[in-house]
Amino acid sequence: MRERLLTGNFHLPQSHTLRVYRETGGYAGLEKAFALPPAAITEEVKKSNLRGLGGAGFPTGIKWGFIPKGHQGPIYLVINADEGEPGTFKDRYLLEKDPHSLIEGMIISAYAIGAHVAFIYVRGEYVRPWRILRQAVEEAYAAGFLGRNILGSGFDLDVVIHRGAGAYICGEETGLISSLEGKKGWPKLKPPFPAVRGAFGAPTIVNNVETICHVPHIMRRGAEWFAGLGTNTQGGTRMYSVSGHVVRPGVYELPVSVTLRTLIYEHAGGLPNGRGLKAVVPGGSSAAILRAGEIDVTMDVDGLKNAGTMAGSAGVIVMDDTVSIPEALMVVARFYAHESCGQCTPCRESTGWIFKMAKRIVEGKGRKEDLDTILDVARRGAGTTICAFYDGAVGPYISYIEKFREEFEALIPRA
């Protein structure tokens, strides 16, 4: 039986209510946590090999450790529920089905880092999740899990739910902070990092919903157990959002050691109508594409990194042989051109330009130098921006063309 830490309760009716959550053992980790000093919790999380599951995959415990020691003044915890990555929809399930695990994780995390205010930044389009979450927060307040002196521990925590306005960039931690501050959702210059100077100038930890939801489980069952579920470098399980040309699209919680082939053919039921697999995007749209022959990789951060792509937000998009990769690139490019915040010049200017070139190619008006121009522009622009948005965009730009160049060239009229 595979471990289902996060999705274990999804099948229960009313799983989003405090009642059901408590019945399944919820808030147990919290009590354990309060018994420990905050630093010990951070140590525990470090030991658990929990890595950020929003996309970057940064070890969570280490991130928490960046908060300046002995800092006076407020410290904030921000939950990134701005799930905008195409092909990713795991946080929605968590918010809708199990918001209390998020709240419990938040309380533990806030306690660990010394925050007394936590923000949940919910994607603007997630109206239902937002309603459910709000309800859950109210329930938690009513039950004394939030507010003053939680469970008599003397620890205070207030939770603020903030709805985004629909900008993909606000999923980037500093962009999210800007947005949270009431400004335009522009990523901020690093350094200083948010853990040092984040929201409203205070040290801030931004974590993904899924990441935080893991924290109570670590507390409940111990870091070693958690680490043992995964690989050497990444502990625990992971929720994979599988979409596209599969028989059973959906969210699958699996150990990170699962291979992509297993995920597609066993868990998601393979491709419908017996079509052939053409390509897979393994970690949300920003991840580099994999050809059909490259799917024998483990789905952890390092495994995918070695395969030349990334785990990202674990949104697996499966494409069968009817898909036109140039068209797919055009769609992706349009997405990035549309979502670029416009702050850094390379990203602002070249996403639009690359979309125009991709569109032209798809329309049959491409020029033979366009492909190399796209590759060159993408490479030259990569790494020159404030945030990782453009680097994310560069993944598909380069991989789509490099791996399916003949498809592109077939569309370009010969001179």
Partner: protein, 540 residues
């Protein structure tokens, strides 16, 4: 004080300095658009990339603070390639309208393109279209297509004036600068956004299309608009007189002075030069009042005026100097006053309305040299009358001859009718000034002064800083610097001191007036010298 190495040169800079600033101090220019030393760091243009230490990727120099032992390289192949890439991105949606763009010639996009450009444009697609020629306020016009979104203007309005009229709207390559709804870029410093705009997105409505910038000549100067004494550069158009309707002074630009105005200047000062080429300028000496006025030459009028000054008793003559005059003028006038033994001397005339003032630059005193007049001592002598007293005495015909410099007494805070009566009662009214006014119409003799851009000299600002201004254009008509006119009249009256240049005057001033002791034009350089400690009310 961390030490660092930039391009192999060692340097020591204060803690917290950005790499870009450290490089600038070494004379190494790191190309940049969004960085401005007077504004917060945005890091948006991504142009100031340099290689730091062993970091595999170039970093932006503006947002990187120096640390001990840092090794920075600004000209490596990697840096150059990155710059070239960034320049290409900057130009992707930038229209190719340099020929019609007013910024052409002083445009940083042009400059860096010529230095670091790709030169082989690869962009063939339609560019993004944005609003063009949008008036943002009374002085500034926006061309959003040319904007490279460095956000300097936005930060200026947020951080310097605190008015926050501007913002960046839309997303991605549709981003554009704009006004917040219902706002207008009408703060008293709005012109500065044009200066800091590295490209032609923000242009000056006053200067628009007047002269191409490469025709302009530059002279260092001091703004005469108020007692702040902002450092400015006078841009004059001498090569294409048919441009700009024949105006010689095309525009004023602020000149950096760390302690006076930093990079800024107020709009009142920026656009306050119009009087220089105004039709109201006095061009030639005239004699005779009203319709009887006739132009005469200097050789003719100087003996006439000397004769008038000789005709009256010292007690019947009043001199009304102006704090608009330079230190040199005031000093020579004092020499003449002392020589003639006049007692009725003053320079203080209250304006009809008190001037506005703020905490940034603008001072309520709209005269550039009141402090200078005070230090040189042009107040009433023992038993002498002040300005008001002189006018009263004129009405009573005790003062028969009055020499007024620049002042428009009829527009002062004093009742106009009373002043007019006083001036009309005079037997001899001399008016000396650059532009005509009510007093000129009543004057028996009019002497044309050169405007401040037409001569050199020094002003002493409110804090007692003596600052030099240089000559930018030739005087209009027969106009001469005030000190020259005073010197010629003094010569006719037997004054022995005869300076040949403004510098001579200043030398004598430095030798005579204690506050100015030890000063010379050389000593003043570009930044001036503090001669009066305002807090201590004594020489600095």
């Amino acid at each position: 004080m961390p030490k660092l190495t930039i391009d192999g040169r060692e340097s020591e800079v204060p803690e917290g300095t950005g790499v870009i600033e450290a490089a600038r101090r070494l004379g190494i220019e790191v190309p940049h658009y969004c960085y401005h030393p007077g504004l917060s760091i945005a890091g948006q243009c991504r142009l100031c990339m340099v290689e730091i230490g062993n970091n595999p990727r170039p970093q932006i120099a503006c947002n990187t603070q120096v640390v001990e032992g840092m090794v920075v390289r600004t000209e490596t192949p990697k840096v150059l390639e990155t710059r070239q890439a960034i320049m290409e991105f900057h130009l992707i949606n930038h229209p190719l309208d340099c020929p019609v763009c007013d910024q052409a010639g002083e445009c940083w996009l042009q400059i860096y393109y010529m230095k670091h450009g790709l030169y082989e444009p690869r962009m063939v697609d339609e560019k993004v279209h944005k609003p063009k020629a949008v008036p943002l306020g009374p002085h500034v016009i926006l061309d959003a297509e040319r904007c490279i979104l460095c956000s300097r203007c936005v930060r200026f309005c947020d951080e310097i004036t605190g008015t926050g009229e501007l913002g960046i709207f839309q997303r991605g390559d549709h981003s554009e600068i704009g006004l917040f709804p219902g706002r207008e870029l009408a703060n008293p410093y709005s012109g500065n956004v044009v200066d800091i705009c590295p490209v032609g997105a923000l242009t000056d409505r006053d200067f628009r299309f007047a002269v191409r910038v490469w025709y302009l000549e530059t002279a260092k100067s001091i703004c005469p608009g108020c007692s702040r004494g902002c450092n400015i550069a006078v841009h004059s158009n001498l090569r294409r007189p048919h441009h700009d309707g024949g105006r010689r002074v095309a525009r004023l630009k602020p000149r950096y002075h760390a302690e006076v105005n930093r990079w800024w200047i107020c709009d009142a000062g920026r656009y306050g030069y119009k009087f220089v080429d105004d039709p109201s300028r006095v061009r030639f000496p005239t004699r005779g009042r009203g319709d009887a006025a006739a132009e005469v030459g200097w050789d003719e009028i100087v003996p006439l005026i000397a004769g008038q000054l000789r005709r009256y008793q010292p007690g019947e003559i009043g001199v009304l100097a102006s704090p608009q005059m330079a230190n040199e003028d005031l000093f020579l006038l004092r020499r003449l006053v002392d020589h003639l033994g006049l007692a009725h001397v003053d320079f203080r005339v209250p304006p009809s309305r008190p001037g506005d003032e703020d905490r940034i630059l603008i001072k309520a005193d709209k005269n550039p040299n009141r402090r200078g007049a005070e230090l040189i001592g042009l107040g009433p002598r023992d038993g002498g009358l002040d300005a008001r007293g002189m006018l009263r005495a004129a009405r009573e015909r005790r003062i028969k001859c009055l020499w007024v410099f620049h002042h428009d007494l009829l527009a002062s805070a004093w009742p106009e009718g009373e002043i007019r009566e006083a001036l009309e009662s005079l037997e001899c009214l001399l008016f000396q000034g650059s532009n005509g006014n009510g007093v000129r119409l009543l004057a028996h003799y009019v002497l044309p002064s050169a405007a401040w851009v037409e001569r050199e000299g020094t002003f002493t600002n409110f804090e007692g800083r003596v600052q030099r201004f240089w000559k930018a254009v030739e005087p209009l008509g027969a106009a001469r610097a005030d000190w020259e006119i005073v010197a010629r009249i003094g010569e006719a009256l037997g004054l022995s001191f005869m300076p040949d240049t403004g510098e001579d005057c200043f030398k004598a001033l430095a030798a005579t007036v204690p506050a100015f002791a030890g000063l010379s034009y050389r000593e003043l350089r570009d930044t001036g010298r503090l001669v009066w400690d305002c807090a201590g009310r004594g020489p600095a």
